[in-house]
């Protein structure tokens, strides 16, 4: 299997914008490191979202214009950020009480693999010489009400990231609700992966060929007419 042609599929920005469309006004949201961070740029007009960063800030704002931010005002990716009006600082135990206690509405994470039962692998390839590092990912998937994944549909070498079952070590079992890729938006349902939306100009076969598990079609009732 090869890469999707570069003129096919959504860009990272498109994917992030598409996720942002699905976040209701007033939500408390944690954004993982990488592509998920882009989601913050695309809050639809008329909505207000509160971003949580697990190192101890609620009401996180964008990175400062210049790079001379306070080195002690950072996000979980250790990048300089800002604090919006209405922000609050707190310690790690309180921060993870928010996460574990089910107070966050949504977390958007990257992925190495997502299985059709919702299993997520995103912290380790399990290679013997890798330095293991997990951070807050396992707490987030265990505690946040909804877990969205945003990821390229395949790896750089064309391997499917949506699979029947994960071969990498799990971050959490049966935790993912929805996946946003460059090719499609896909729900994790009790029956498996179900297509929610297809990138215009790409057909189902194209996506199915790049997916390591069966893709159930969109139920007719939800198709736009």
């Amino acid at each position: 299997m090869s890469d999707a042609p570069s003129n096919v599929g959504w860009t990272r920005e498109d994917m992030a914008r598409r996720v942002a469309q699905d976040i209701p006004d007033g939500s408390y949201v944690n954004l993982g490191i990488g592509i998920p961070e882009l989601v913050a740029r695309f809050v639809p007009q008329g909505r207000e979202l509160v971003y949580h960063t697990e190192n101890g800030l609620l009401g996180m704002g964008p990175s400062p214009e210049s790079d001379d931010g306070d080195p002690e005002l950072i996000n979980a990716g250790k990048r300089h950020v800002t604090a919006n009006p209405g922000a609050s600082f707190f310690h790690q135990s309180d921060s993870f009480a928010m996460i574990r206690g089910g107070h966050l509405d949504l977390c958007v994470l990257g992925a190495l693999q997502v299985a059709q039962n919702g299993d997520l692998a995103n912290w380790s390839t399990g290679e013997p010489d890798a330095i293991p590092a997990v951070g807050g990912a396992m707490d987030l998937v265990a505690g946040v009400k909804a877990i969205y994944v945003i990821t390229q549909h395949t790896t750089k070498t064309g391997e499917p990231k949506l699979v029947e079952s994960c071969t990498y070590p799990l971050t959490g079992a049966r935790v993912v609700n929805r996946v946003y890729t460059d090719l499609a938006v896909i729900d994790v349902t009790p029956e498996g992966f179900r297509l929610v939306e297809l990138n215009p100009g790409i057909d189902l076969d194209f996506v199915q060929n790049r997916t390591g598990a069966q893709l159930l079609p969109t139920p007719e009732s939800t198709l736009s007419t």
Partner: protein, 236 residues
């Protein structure tokens, strides 16, 4: 856009249901959200389980809720106070059940509930009647009992000031159970003397972050239980 203010205590409590578990902040009169409790009485909701450190005094606030016959059970550390006659009568007549919990265990159970911790071990009450019958386990040669997290359908607390996102600061020892109860309530309602714009409260000094607060009611001059009792007040 985020604005958690509601018009009145009545509106904040309109959807409460019979049989709800309700956490009520306060230690004695400090931090007791009397106006929210009175609005709870007005809803007529009954068969409630109340989680609170005390059971109120006189015939206002929590004591008035009890006297109105709305409470089937209290989970509490110290139901007996100098001016309390309502709870003792209900307890002796068997109309209100009591789960007596040591104060620190009560606090930790509430925090655990809010923090997604289903159960924890504590040394408190080991070897006493309040530890009897509880699951017991040794760690490093010392005995501990297993205690379970507590959650509530609704939490009622009193703060001093909030912004419209629900960030709250408190007044002195009125803080007591309120921040942890805010974490443990499915719906947390706070009454405050003043609501300010987001950004008006320094993010370094926020005690209860807005994520734990659902509805804000402004009560500019909240009553104090002792003053109401001294004035012979009853509710309703």
């Amino acid at each position: 856009m985020i604005d958690k203010r509601v018009e009145s205590a009545a509106e904040a409590l309109a959807d409460i249901r019979d049989g709800s578990t309700v956490m009520v902040g306060g230690f004695g009169e400090a931090g007791s959200p009397i106006e929210l409790i009175h609005a709870l009485i007005d809803t007529g909701a009954t068969n409630l389980t109340i989680i609170s450190n005390n059971c109120g005094s006189g015939e206002v606030g929590l004591a008035a809720l009890l006297k109105a016959g709305r409470v089937s059970k209290v989970i509490c550390s110290f139901p007996r106070t100098a001016n309390s006659t309502v709870f003792p009568e209900l307890y002796r007549s068997g109309r209100t059940a009591l789960e007596l919990v040591p104060q620190g265990t009560l606090a930790e159970r509430i925090r655990a509930g809010g923090a997604g911790i289903p159960a924890f071990y504590t040394p408190t009450a080991v070897g006493t009647p309040l530890g009897d019958g509880k699951e017991c386990r040794e760690f490093d040669g010392r005995s501990y009992v297993l205690e379970y997290g507590l959650r509530a359908n609704v939490t009622l607390i009193k703060g001093r000031r909030a912004d419209s996102h629900g960030n709250v600061v408190f007044n002195k020892t009125a803080r007591n159970f309120s921040p942890i109860m805010a974490m443990a309530g499915e719906t947390t309602i706070v009454q405050v003397e003043q609501v300010v714009e987001p950004g008006s409260i320094d993010p370094e000094v926020v005690v209860t972050p807005g994520i734990f607060v659902d509805r804000i009611v402004t009560v500019m001059s909240p009553a104090h239980e002792s003053a109401l009792i001294a004035a012979g007040a009853t509710y309703p």
